[in-house]
Subunit: 92 residues, 2 copies
DNA sequence: ATAACATATAGATAATTGTCAATAGATAAA
DNA sequence: TTTATCTATTGACAATTATCTATATGTTAT
């Protein structure tokens, strides 16, 4: 197992603002500007978090004109669940 | 949802050494000194990581004389899985 | 072309975290 | 009761990360 890669995935969930972002995305795809409205951070900070979330595979971005729409990646989420389950399963 | 508490849980999985520790515990309960043998960190550093792992609920410690035996908490792991699933489920 | 807007990047800084050396506490053995 | 052993705590430091301001890039509308 690649510990570095696994750590990268779960970095998505170890910051409060990123958890808030993921929660906002549960109700469907959202534009960065919409997310920005609801978080007390500046636009570059949001951008930074979105990069980490995308790198983790949990979130994907879709560019449309000047906007970027972000959403939860079902595949990424599924993979994270699989990792977590595997990692915490006691083999007897 | 309490984002701070959720972040605390997933802190367990966002450091390479902690992931290695969890992996070692998959094969069953292990003493701190045994874990220490296989990680390139000092004893206080291990102790620090064990605290974070226990605080996350993923790992529990059992004191027996001078030794502390650590193991994966099935309840903690289950709860983390539940959180992760909930957090990444798109409600439509 | 220019202006307005959305997002990303660069660079700086503050906060957090991972690490170590030194030491304390607790237990077992002599 | 001293000594040895295992783990936790403290304090310092280095590395990483979250944040900001300023600026660049890319897109649409005028």
């Amino acid at each position: 197992m690649d510990e570095r890669k696994t750590a990268l995935i779960f970095k998505a969930f170890c910051d409060e603002n990123r958890i808030r972002i993921i929660e906002m995305l549960r109700s469907g795809e959202k534009c960065a500007c919409k997310l920005l409205e609801e978080l007390n951070v500046t636009q570059p900070t949001l951008s930074h978090h979105m990069k980490i979330l995308c790198d983790s595979g949990i979130v994907t971005g879709r560019k449309e004109g000047k906007w970027t729409h972000y959403s939860i990646s079902p595949e990424g989420a599924e993979y994270a669940c699989k990792c977590l389950k595997e990692l915490t399963t006691i083999d007897s």
